[in-house]
Amino acid sequence: MSCTITLAILPCLLQVHDVVPKDVNAPPGDITAGHVVLPGPEQSATSSVTALLPAREIDRFVPGSGKSAVVLIAKDPELWDFSIGAGSQPLASSERLLDLSGMTQSASARALRLLEPSDGLTSMPIQAKAPDEELAGWLLVADGCEDVRLTTHFGTRHHAPGRPVVLHARMEGAHSARGTMVLGSPSGDSFEHPLHPDGAGGLIGVFSPDEAGDWTVRSIVESVDHRGVGRVRTTQQLLRSLPESAAPSGSVTASQQTDGRIEFRVPLAVLPASDLAAPRRVALAFEVWATDASGRQVPVCWVSRIHELPAEGGAQHASLRADPRWFSLAGADPKSIELRELRIHDTRGFVLLAHEPRPDCIPVGSFELPSPPSAVVPSMHAGAAPERIAGASRASSMRAGSPDGGHVLLLSHGYCTDQFPFRTNDFSGDFVLYEEYGQNLSNDEFALRFESLGRSHKSMGIVGHSQAGHAATHLYTFYWSALDWATGPRKIQGVGVPWLGTALAGNAAVLGEVFGIGCGEVYDLTYDGSTSWLSFIPSWVRQETWYWTTSFEDGWFYDYCQIVTDLLLSDPDDGTVEQYAGQLAGANNEGHKTGWCHTRLMRDPPQCRDAERNVLMNQEAAR
């Protein structure tokens, strides 16, 4: 068998105007199963059993019986006077120096971990003195009392500048005494607001982001546990506030096209682009309901499509289309169409821009339905493939852009990496590598990289690490590409994919404000961003996706992949992705394997070096 490796060299400026969006349709079962329903913001809450604070703000802690450690995060932490325990006789601890280049630009970490469990009552001092008082340092403190947990979430997913944001905080296992939220604006300013009792045992705070961009939100809650011991917990979240660049501006009309499909025209009021350099794309979606023969309102299908906003703004409309066979299958009358849950999300992080629970929909003209198929057929999922794209000229004499143009497997790294994760020796046949080190892309931008790469090949399956799993499913959902032509058992395979997000995205943003962020903020990988994005991924895409999770080998002491990230994540985790957050409902879960971590420089070997899995993925991959 021949083996071809092609290294992808991508243009700096990706031309995306000639991609072809799919008319995404999902069956009504996806609505009832919740696959395409935007969960409430409490469903993507951030929780924490640790505290991350500037070193000057914490000088002691009360360790308990669980994992107790103090981590100093600073530039050159080895130069700091750093210890825990009583002055001249520091407590026995294990010390490690850790690379944090994936999270910050200039900081490293120095971790001190207690070797023995403590009684949970004795206060222990922390010494953290900088060689220069001007130097910043932060402490991540895990007191080992893991039943005391802070959970925070925003009150809405709608975060436009000027629109108030409510923050909810709740402490489990302790009584909240007081809380504060510290906001970091996109331009670097910092604001502090108190949290107030919400009357139901939690705390609540309100702020109004007056600036578009990424805000960091630190929630700091002091509490008293059931033994009367003070406990501090913090969460670090990222909030993306974007202008409401597109909003529904009137009634949606529904009419039947000559090809039989039902077209929904959504009138939009579009703001002019403030940044002309980047194309603005939004994802629209809504549920289609109608009345069946018995007079009941029944879900017919779910419809979605990517729409590019014109830079000049103004009155526009977006067209979305549904296959008429959904109506036939549901036994529903298109004249009784009712739309629900119309949503518009910016594709940069899938931030919610507009939401109408019951938009007006006016059926226009007559409708003629085909005979109902015996079952859902694939052509109902994404409409008919377009015969031609607008503006594309035929080039009959054109040869392929690559030397072979064959059927390939694309191997891809994830967000912000400096080495290719997969061991290519484990793969055979034709495969190509996506390599763009140090990148920070939204899922949409990442997917379009794949689309562009796919143009050099007839067909393409994808094996992706981490965020590349998001990108592959995003591509298959929203755009026609070489991935659609791939044949074989598995179109998409993902390893260590944070389908539900990772707490590290928020923490990296907070630390990045102090130390410079490694590759930039990646809102798509926050719990909020991932959850919003995932509500656009229908079951037929999930069914074509196979995934694996891993975590550390749970030894008596080294029960982590990376001690810093371990303190920010819920066990078990692979150092970046918690096992629970690596699950994709409706997809093919290939299992969880211990003894493997997310990347190199962690306790156990990197998960993408697992030859057994790699060989299997290579064997099963569609190409």
């Binding site: 377009p386 015969e387 794209i389 000229s393 035929r394 040869r399 392929a400 143009g405 007839k458």
Partner: protein, 251 residues
């Protein structure tokens, strides 16, 4: 008058093509299976359709081409048809679905197989038809890239060449069968346009005025019938003169 219009030959390619004249149709059938080599350059699957001489001057008035192919990526394929006069090679299909970007993409339509009748009157174009799920991806009557109507007016007799070429590496296939349907009409004056032939004296309709026709005339001498070539009510010397003057093959 000899009425033989319109006429039709149906020829189907065979391993050893055999022409059979059945009434107005000439049928050649084949079970030929030929490989369509991958990215073959000059090596193509080639089918020769031999249209034998009918003895009459004829002109092509319509052509349809049926083709069955197994191939996992029809976007690789170029299909051409060259008529016997060698003048014009018509392109039936040229890497269908090929667009520089978007869908189906720079490698054309990735669907499987082809069972198509190239027919100018079809509503859909073979070049623009593509589906992720249909198999064969090109099926039924489809318009060719270049209209077969342009073959109207040529003499159909001789060898027609069907060529199937794979122009892109990665996939190969095989030609399962093909057939060519030619509609023709008599063109007595050989001006490339159908016309009606007159052949006075050809009483038996074999396009030759000969002894059998003379016998027929003599058997009706002084009587009436089709041998009354000048239509004066009696078969006589004037009719004999007309027959003798037309002696030989009709033109």
């Amino acid at each position: 008058m000899n009425e033989r219009l319109p006429s039709r030959w149906l020829l189907t390619a065979m391993l050893v093509p055999v022409a059979t004249l059945v009434a107005d149709e000439l049928v050649v059938e084949s079970t030929l299976v030929q490989p369509v080599p991958d990215d073959s350059g000059n090596s193509s699957a080639l089918v020769e359709f031999v249209v034998p001489s009918s003895g009459d001057p004829v002109v092509t008035t319509g052509v349809r081409l049926s083709l069955r192919l197994e191939h996992p990526w029809v976007g690789d394929l170029r299909v051409t048809l060259r008529p016997p006069d060698g003048s014009t090679e018509l392109v039936m299909l040229d890497r269908p679905g090929l667009v520089p970007a978007g869908f189906p993409g720079p490698f054309g339509c990735g669907g499987d197989d082809l069972d198509v009748v190239f027919d100018d009157s079809a509503s859909a174009s073979a070049q623009d038809t593509c589906s992720l799920v249909a198999s064969p991806v090109l099926a039924g009557p489809l318009r060719p890239l270049q209209a077969l109507q342009s073959l109207s007016g040529i003499d159909p007799e001789g060898s027609w060449s069907l060529t199937v070429t794979d122009l892109q590496p990665g996939d190969s296939g095989q030609l399962i069968g093909a057939s060519l349907l030619v509609e023709f009409e008599i063109d007595c004056d050989q001006d490339g346009l159908p016309d009606e032939c007159t052949c006075p004296g050809d009483l038996d309709g074999d396009r030759v005025v000969g002894g059998a026709d003379l016998s027929g005339l003599l058997s009706q001498w002084n009587g009436t019938g089709e041998a009354d070539l000048d239509a004066n009510g009696v078969v006589d010397g004037a009719d004999l003169a007309i027959l003798i003057s037309a002696w030989g093959s009709c033109r």
